[in-house]
Amino acid sequence: MDVTYTSTKSTVEATRTSVLKMQRQLIVAQKEVSSGRYADVGIALGARTSRSVSMRRDINYMNLIIDTNSTASTRLDSTQSALTGLVEMSQGFVDTLISARTTETGRENAANEAKANLSMLTDVMNGAVGGESLFAGIKTDTLPLSNYFTSPTSAAKTAVDAAFLGEFGTTQSDPANETGITGSDMQTFLDTTFDTLFNDANWAANWSAASDENVVSRISIYEDVETSSNANYLGYRKLAEAYTMVADLGIENLNDLAFQAIVDTAIDMVGAATQYLAVEQGRLGTSQERVELANNRLLSQINIITGQVNDMEVVDPYDASVRVTTLLTQIETSYALTARIQKLTILNYI
C-alpha cells in the first residue's frame, strides 16, 4: 500500500465533521452576540459561578433594602414635619399665654387655644402613614392617644377632675374657686398632684396606648436604626400637661394669682417641651441622615458588584461578532470545498 493512500470516506468525512463542529460553534456565538452574555454561563465560569450567584443575590438584597428604606424615610419625614408643626403650635401658644397674663380678656382666648391645641396634639399623635401609626412605637396598629374632651368622659379627664376635686374640694367650673384657691395653692397643685398625673404610670394608664419601643428598621446589611417616635416621649407629655392645665383647670373662675401660677407653669412647661422636641427632631434627623448614607453606600456597592457580575458573565460583543463572521466564512469555504471535492473524481475522465 502506498503511504500517501487515503480513502474516499475519510476525505469526505473530514469536511463533514468540521462543518458540524463549526455549526455548533456558530449557534453558541450567535446566542452570545444577541444576549451579550455567555451562552452557558455555568460552563464558561465553572467554579466561579458561585460568585456570580452570590453577587446577584447581594444585588437583589441591596436593591430591596433601598426599597424598604423608602418606607423608613417616609415615616421619618412625616414624623419630622409633624414635630415641626407641634413646635410652631407651642410657640404660638406661648405668645397667647404671655398676652393673656396681662390682659383680662385673654383668659378665654388662652383656654380656647389650649383646647384646640390639645385636640391638635391628639390628632398629630394619632397620625399614620400607610396604615401604620407614626407615634405608637412598635404598636403600629393602635392609635396612641384618645381625645380628651369626649363623652363619655375620657380616662385622662376623669383623672384630672378627680385630682382637682381631691385637692380643692370643688369642680373646675365652680365659681367659688375664685376665692377658694390661692395662687400658692394652685402652684402646689400644679407641681405635685397635677404633675403626677403625667408621670410614666399614669400617662400609660390614662393617656397613651403607645409602646415605649420605637420602630427599628434595617437600613443596610447589618445596620439597624430607630425610625419612629412614640407618644410616651417626655416632650409630648409636657405639651399635653401644659395644654391640659390651661384648658381644663377652669381658668375663667380663678383669681389672678392662681391664673398666673397656671400661665407661668404652662409657659415654663412649653419651653421645656420645645427643648425636648428639638432633641427628638435631632435624633430623627440623625436617623434620616443614616438612611440617606446607607442608600448612597448601597447604591455604590450595587454599581461595583453589578460591574463585577458583568465582568464575569458578559462577553466582548466585538469578539463575539467577529467569531460569528469568521465562522460563517469558514462554513461557506467548507461548503465550496465539499462541492469541489465531490466533483473531483476519476469517473469524469474515463
Partner: protein, 490 residues
C-alpha cells in the same frame, strides 16, 4: 513451453482478472461503509511457471489505529454520559440570570423577610414571606426529585447497556467462530473480520475493552480493567436495576463473569465506556449533589428553629420549615440523607391551611414558651432581624458533601452551584477533548483501511487492459492452433 501452456496461462489469467474485478466491485460497494476495509487480492505464479492463481484475499488493516479508535470511543462515550447527565442536573440551577436555583430562592426568602421587617404590621408582607419560603421548600423538593430521576434513568440506561453488551457478545461469538473456521480451511474471512471489528466498536462504546489475539485470528475480549468478557465463549454480564430511586437507595454493581466491576467492592473497576459514566453519575455526582441539597434543607430548618424564650429549659423546636422529624431540630453538621425531599412549610404558618403567617414575626409556633413578641406589638421586628441575620451566620455542614466546614447557608448554597458548574465545566472540556481524539483516530483509521474510489477505478482500467490483452492472446493462440491444424490436415 507449449501452446497449451500459453493457453493455460491466459485462461488462468482470465479467471484471476474476473476475481479481481469482483473484489473491486465489493470494495466500491463498501466505499461509505464504516469499518468496511479495502480487500486486497494476493496472486502467485502457478506450478512450473504455468499460469497465475489467487493465493489469498486479505484486507487493509491497522491494529494499532483500531485500538486507538476503541479506547477513544470508550473515553468519548464515558464523557458524553457525564455531560448529558450533568446538563440534566443543571436544570436545578439554570442560567444565573433567571434566579431559579435553590441558592437564588433562598436569597429571595431573605429579601421577603427584609420587606416584612420594614412593615411588620402588614399581613400581606407576612404572606409573601411565607410563599417565598414555600418556593424554597418546593424547589428543594423538586430538585431532589430531579436528582433521583437522573439516578434512576442512569440505572435504566445501565440495564439497557448490559442487554446490548450481552447481545453483542453473543453475535461476536458466532462471527469469531466463523473467522476461526474460515481461517482453518483458508477461505476468505475478511468480511467476518470487518463484522467483528464493527461489533468491537459498538462494544467499546458501552464499556472500555481490550483484546488479545489467539490462534487462527481468534480474539478474546477483556474489560479495560482485565475482567474476561469473551474467551472462546461469552461471559455473563449481569446487573440488577432498581425500579425507582429515593435519596437513601444505593444502586447495584455491574457484575461480569462473577466479578463486580463497579462500586466500592470492585477489585477490578472499569475505567471507561458509557457504563462507567452512568455509574459515576448514579453513585457519585448525583449522590453528592443530593447530599448538598439535603444540607441546605437541614440548614434552613435549623435557621428557622425557635428557641425557648422563657428560660424554662425547653429544647429548640422547628419553626417555619418542618420535616417528618419535627419539632425536633436535626443534629447540626450531620447529613440527614433525603431531607431535601421532605422539607415543607409548617402548616401553622400557612394561611391557606388555617395557619397564622404572623408567627414568623412573633414566634410561638411551638407554644407560648416560644413567643418572641411578648407584648404582641404589630411593629415588632426584632425576630425578623434575627432571622435575616441567620442567613449570614456561619454554621457547620457535613464534610461528606464535599463542601463541608463552617460557612453561612447563603454561601453554602452558592458554593454548591460552584461545585456543580466546576464539574460540568471540566466534563465538558474533557468531552470536547475526547471527541476530538475520537474524530482524529477514526479519521486515521478510515483513511488507512477505507476504499479510495479513484484508486479502485484506476486499477479497474488496468484490469480492463489486461483483459483485452489476454483476450487478444487467446485469439492469437487460437489462430495459431487453427494454422497448425490446417497444416496437419493437408
Amino acid at each position: 513451453m507449449s501452446l497449451t501452456a500459453a493457453m493455460e496461462t491466459a485462461r488462468s489469467n482470465l479467471s484471476v482478472l474476473t476475481a479481481k474485478t469482483a473484489v473491486i466491485s465489493r470494495n466500491i460497494a463498501n466505499t461509505s461503509n464504516e469499518f468496511a476495509s479495502r480487500k486486497i487480492v494476493g496472486t502467485a505464479t502457478g506450478h512450473n511457471g504455468v499460469g497465475v492463481h489467487i493465493t489469498s484475499i486479505t484486507r487493509a488493516s491497522d491494529e494499532a489505529l483500531f485500538h486507538n479508535v476503541l479506547s477513544a470511543n470508550s473515553d468519548a462515550s464515558y464523557q458524553k454520559a457525564l455531560v448529558d447527565a450533568m446538563d440534566q442536573l443543571n436544570a436545578t440551577i439554570n442560567d444565573t440570570e433567571q434566579d431559579a436555583s435553590p441558592a437564588a430562592l433562598i436569597g429571595k426568602l431573605k429579601d421577603a423577610l427584609q420587606e416584612y421587617s420594614a412593615s411588620p404590621s402588614e399581613l400581606v408582607r407576612a404572606q409573601s414571606a411565607i410563599s417565598a419560603a414555600d418556593d424554597v421548600a418546593t424547589s428543594l423538593n423538586s430538585a431532589t426529585e430531579l436528582v433521583q430521576n437522573v439516578r434512576s434513568q442512569a440505572d435504566l440506561e445501565i440495564s439497557g447497556a448490559v442487554d446490548t453488551i450481552n447481545s453483542l457478545l453473543e453475535q461476536y461469538g458466532s462471527v469469531n467462530q466463523k473467522v476461526i473456521d474460515g481461517t482453518r480451511i483458508g477461505s476468505d474471512v475478511t468480511d467476518y473480520l470487518d463484522q467483528r471489528d464493527k461489533i468491537l466498536a459498538d462494544l467499546s462504546q458501552e464499556i472500555g475493552i481490550k483484546t488479545v489475539a489467539g490462534n487462527n485470528y481468534d480474539l478474546s475480549i477483556y474489560t479495560d480493567s482485565g475482567v474476561t468478557l469473551f474467551q472462546h465463549t461469552a461471559r455473563a454480564v449481569t446487573f440488577d436495576g432498581l425500579a425507582s430511586y429515593s435519596a437513601v437507595d444505593t444502586g447495584n454493581a455491574l457484575v461480569i463473569d462473577g466479578v463486580p466491576v463497579t462500586g466500592s467492592s470492585a477489585t477490578m473497576p472499569i475505567s471507561s465506556g458509557r457504563i462507567k459514566g452512568l455509574i459515576e453519575i448514579r453513585d457519585d455526582i448525583a449522590v453528592t449533589y443530593q447530599s448538598q441539597l439535603d444540607e441546605m434543607a437541614r440548614g434552613l430548618i435549623e435557621m428557622f428553629a425557635e428557641t425557648d424564650q422563657t428560660a424554662s429549659g425547653l429544647p429548640d423546636a422547628t419553626g417555619l420549615f418542618s420535616y417528618p422529624g419535627s419539632p425536633t431540630v436535626p443534629a447540626t453538621g450531620t447529613l440527614d440523607t433525603g431531607i431535601a425531599g421532605e422539607i415543607s412549610i409548617n402548616a401553622v404558618y400557612d394561611s391557606s391551611q388555617a395557619g397564622d403567617p404572623t408567627l414568623l414575626r412573633d414566634g410561638g409556633a411551638n407554644g407560648a414558651a416560644y413567643v418572641y413578641n411578648t407584648t404582641g406589638a404589630s411593629g415588632y421586628s426584632a425576630r425578623l432581624f434575627e432571622l435575616i441575620d441567620e442567613f449570614g451566620v456561619d454554621r457547620s455542614f457535613d464534610a461528606s458533601t464535599q463542601l463541608g466546614g463552617t460557612l453561612s447557608l447563603e454561601n453554602y448554597a452558592s458554593s454548591s452551584i460552584g461545585w456543580m458548574e466546576e464539574n460540568r465545566q471540566s466534563a465538558a472540556t474533557a468531552q470536547e477533548y475526547s471527541t476530538t481524539v475520537l474524530e482524529r483516530a477514526s479519521y486515521s483509521l478510515t483513511s488507512v483501511i477505507g476504499v479510495n474510489l479513484d484508486y479502485e477505478m484506476s486499477i479497474l482500467l488496468d484490469l480492463e487492459h489486461s483483459f483485452q490483452a489476454t483476450s487478444r492472446l487467446i485469439s492469437a493462440i487460437d489462430s495459431m492452433y487453427a494454422s497448425l491444424l490446417e497444416a496437419g490436415g493437408r
